[in-house]
Structure formats: C-alpha cells, structure tokens
Amino acid sequence: MNIPKLVLKNITRRKGRFVFTLLGITIGIASFVTLLSLGGSLKNEIKKQASELGANLVVTPKGWCAYEQVSVLTGEQLPEAIPFDVVKKIAAIKGLTAVPYLTERTAYRNNPVSVIGILPEEMKRFKNWEIEQGKYFVAQDEKTLVIGSGIARQFKLKVGDELTVRGERFPIAGILRETGGKDDIAVYLPLKVAQKLYGVGEMVSFIAIKVDDISRIDSYILRIQETANVAVVSDKQLLKSVLSIVGTVSITLQLIAAVAILAAAFGIINTMMTAVSERKREIGILQAIGARQSTIFKVFLIESGFYGILGGIIGVGIGLVFSSLAGPYISQNEFTAFLKGSEISQTFDFRLVLGSSFFSLFVSLISGLYPAWRASKLSPVEAISYE
C-alpha cells in the first residue's frame, strides 16, 4: 500500500461524484484552453497579416474608429472616403510608394467575398505578386478579374470562369500564386472598373505606403499630413491598436472561462468537504493506526490534486480539439473572416498545454487546502466515534 494507491481507492469508490466533479474542472479548463488557443492564433494571424500588408504607413480618412483600422488588416469592406486626387498628391512625395485600396464586398454562392479595386501595376510591384495561372491585368480599365488562390480553391474556380460582381459578369483572367495571407481570399479589379461598378466616383478606401528610409518615418508622416487632410498610422501603431482590441476581447473571454474554472474549484471544495464529512470515521481509523496529521492532509490534498491533473489533461485535450473545430465557425464571422483557410486550427502551443495543465493542478490544490486542513485537524477520538 502507498498513499497514491489509497487516494485512488478513495476517489473511485464514488464513481458518479468523481465523474461529475471531474467534468466541472474539465469543462472549465477546456473552455479556457479553447479561448486562449483561439485568441493566441488570432493574434498570430493578425501579426502575419500586418507583415503581409507590406506597408510602413497606412493613410486613412480622419476619424476612423478602431474597427475600421482592423478592417485594413482583415480586408473587410470600408467606406470610400479618400479622393483619388489625394492619392496622387501623396504618391508624388519623394521617397515613398503609395497604393490605394478600394475595398468592397460581393457574394458568391451565398458566401461573402472581398472585392478590391487596385492600380494593377503599382500593386503588383508593391506586393511582389506572381501569377500562378492565366495572366495579370494589362490595362487600367480592363473588365476582368484576378483572384486569390484561396478563393480559386474554395469555389473551385479556374481561369476563364465567370464571376458575377454587382450583377455584372467578369471573366477570371488570372489566379495569383499563394501568398499565405488575406490576399489569397480576395477578388481584384482595376481601380477604375471597381469605382464605376460600385458607383463611388473617384474615391478609395485607404492608401498603403512603403517608405524608402524607415528611419525618417516621422518626417514622412508630417509631409503626408501637410499634403492632405488625412490620418496617418504606422504599421506598428495599426498592429498595436488591432492587437489591443483582440486582446480586450480575449481577456473578456478568458475571464468568462476563469469564472467556469472558479465554479469548478468550488465543485472540488464541495466534493472534498463531503468526503471529509463522510469519511470522518475512516480518518479516525487512519489516525489510530498511526497516520500523522500531515499524512491525512497529504491524502486529501493529493485526492483534490488528482481532479486537477486528470481534469487538466482531459480539458486541455478537449480544448485543443474544440479550438480546431471552432476555427471554421469563427472564420464565418465578418470580423474574423480573414482567418478562413489560415492555419489557425493547426496551432499547437506547448506553453499553453503545459500552462493550462499546471493551472488546473494549481486550482485543484488550492481548492483542496481547506478540506485537507479540516480533515487533518480532526481529533482521533472524535473521528473514530463518529457514527
């Protein structure tokens, strides 16, 4: 006989109670891991998208809210608020390259699809795009489409197929080589064609800017703001504000999960207190045959910790499965649509797995402290006389 064996025998004799208490901590940890895992993947994905934007600065209309700034990274539809004249003025500043974006929306087979109006040559240079199939735009007013590889894969589209945008049919001229970012999940039109199609006159949504000398970025911002009445945000600021939004959402969700874990902790306390009360006589017997107070304390604390270890391991497993299953559903959300086709579901964070398992153990040990202390403080005579 040894202490772990004794603990195991104690735990498994009330199988129903054992399973329900275990479920409490398992569900708590599973939801914690799911939300943490999704939040972590979301942050990584946003960082990836920011680096793939390829811009040092983003010019937006004044007064844009944080959600609109997020949309620069996610490729969502944005208001058309910057006149093309401003694009020209900014592009004329020496030492920088400016490319305008007109981000719109269409639907294909009842799925939302990003439509982006671009200056074909400028954008190709800016992004270093390559063509996988077909050909790229040859004219600024060409009424064809170039589509991302993700869209081609998702809807099984090939060069020559037609796609209806705002009631007008466009042939697909080319398919871009996979970039691994949101560029893969958009449909591109020459800017002029897109502006006409969506009836936005000469307006664009935002301007992405690459500067030649990154050390002079502040002077570029000043010069852009002197040139036009616009807001300029650096890629780092943009990333920071996007991550702060995502961080706030993640923390809120994690707090909800923490409440679930707290409820599970009280479940463990309740189970252990019931066990102490039910096994009062046994505690007395153990003391009579030589168990020290510290041994009784250890027996109950290990018993409580067992819930944490097992619940933690199962919970982490379920959490990882849930987060991978939840990936596609999350990508159906407008805010997170850019995650579609990304590797969010395959993210395996070893620190998260280990951290959550230890957290589960920690919570269960803390929960077990008071019941274990109560058990160890029982007087042998009082305990053994308990009917």
Binding site: M1, K9, Q287, A288, T295, P380, I384
Partner: protein, 228 residues
C-alpha cells in the same frame, strides 16, 4: 527494561460541550506490567473507553500523565503520538473499524505504510498475519464479504502489523456471536502467549476472569484492582 509498560498518574478527563461539562475520569492511577493480559472492566459510560483512548494516545488527558515504557506521552507532539500509535500500540475496536473499500490484506498493509514499511515487506507480512489469525484465504476479500468474527480477526492482524508491544482492545467481542467470540479470543490468547501486553476493555465478566490483572472503573475512578 522497565517492567511496567503502561502507567497512569492521576488521570483526569473532562469533556466540555457547549452547555454541559462531563467528568469522565477523576484521577485514575494504575500500572500495567509488561507482557500481562489485563482487563479494564466496569459499567457502560463509567470511563473505560476514555481510559483506553488516553493510554493509546488517541486523546490527551485534562490532568495527569500517561507513561508508555517510561515516556510521558501526554507531553508528546501530535506527530510523535502518531508515531507511537504506529509502532508501539495496536488497536482493536468493538465495531472492527476496517476501511471498507480496502481488502483484508490492504487494511493490514495500510497500518504498515504509516510505519514506513516497504511495499514488498507489507505484502509478505500481511499474508503471514492473516494466516496467523486463520484468514490466509481471505486476503483479497473486502470487509463486506466477511463475517463479524472474520472482520475482527482482520482488525487483530492489522493491530499486529507493526509488531507493537501493546495491544489495546475495546470490547473486541462485544459485537460477535459466541462462535466468533471464541475464534477471536483464541487469537488474542495466542498473541498473549507470544509475549504481547494485552489490555482489554470489556464489561464481559467471563473475559475478565481469564485476565491476569483486572482494573475496575466506576464513576471515572479506579474502584478496584486484582490479580486472577
């Protein structure tokens, strides 16, 4: 070696509940010689079991002292008392007090675990002790699968687990039929013949007649003491 293995001096035990103060023992002094078979007799509720709990270190006296092998155990820490119970004293209770979720062998092994015996040695000795009390074939049986007499013999085997010098038994046959009582008493006599100091708390005069030394407790006091 001290010939007196158990000695009590002016033992007083008071139980204080919220409203009532009960004086269970009122200055009991006695000496139990090493290797004897002693009985503590008296009517129910007069302090016999309280005395046994104090001698066995399960409780502390309100006043007075208990000496085991010359050591005043009233002054020991709870950890040292637990060590004393593990190595020097074996308890047998009226209601067997076996751990219901463990087998007979595991019940015996648990007592050895607290004394730090290795698992291999635990298994070997548990088998030997259960054979000694005639339960060699019941090692894997749970208490619920055994008769009262068998359960009490498992309790005796458990009390012997760490080879204690003193066996304290509180009404060991009080809950048994006559056949089981005989089985248990046989086992007890066998142990006494092997040199163990056996102290039985009982109100069974037939058992008291078999004892070498008898202490009679009445109203929390030592009312009489004689040798058979």
């Amino acid at each position: 070696m001290n010939d007196i293995i158990v000695k009590t001096e002016d033992l007083v035990k008071t139980y204080n509940s919220s409203k009532v103060k009960t004086l269970a023992l009122r200055g009991v002094s006695l000496e139990i010689p090493r290797g004897t078979f002693s009985c503590i007799i008296g009517p129910s509720g007069h302090g016999k079991s309280t005395l046994m709990h104090l001698i066995g270190g399960l409780d502390r006296p309100t006043e007075g002292s208990v000496f085991i092998d010359g050591t005043d155990i009233s002054a020991l820490s709870s950890g040292d008392l637990a060590a004393l119970r593990a190595r020097k004293i074996g308890f047998v209770f009226q209601f067997f007090n076996l751990l219901q979720n463990l087998t007979a062998a595991e019940n015996v092994q648990t007592a050895m675990m607290f004394a730090g015996t290795s698992e291999k040695a635990q298994r070997e000795r548990a088998g030997q002790l259960l054979s000694l009390v005639g339960l060699g074939d019941k090692t894997k049986s749970k208490p619920s699968e055994m008769s009262g007499g068998q359960q009490q013999r498992v309790a005796i085997a458990r009390a012997l687990a760490n080879d204690p010098e003193i066996l304290l038994m509180d009404e060991p046959t009080g809950n048994l039929d006559s056949e089981s009582e005989a089985e248990v008493l046989n086992a007890i006599f066998k142990l006494h013949k092997e040199g163990k100091t056996v102290v039985i708390v009982t109100h069974n005069n037939e058992i008291a007649k078999m004892a070498e030394v008898v202490f009679e407790i009445k109203d929390g006091k030592l009312d009489g003491q004689w040798k058979n």
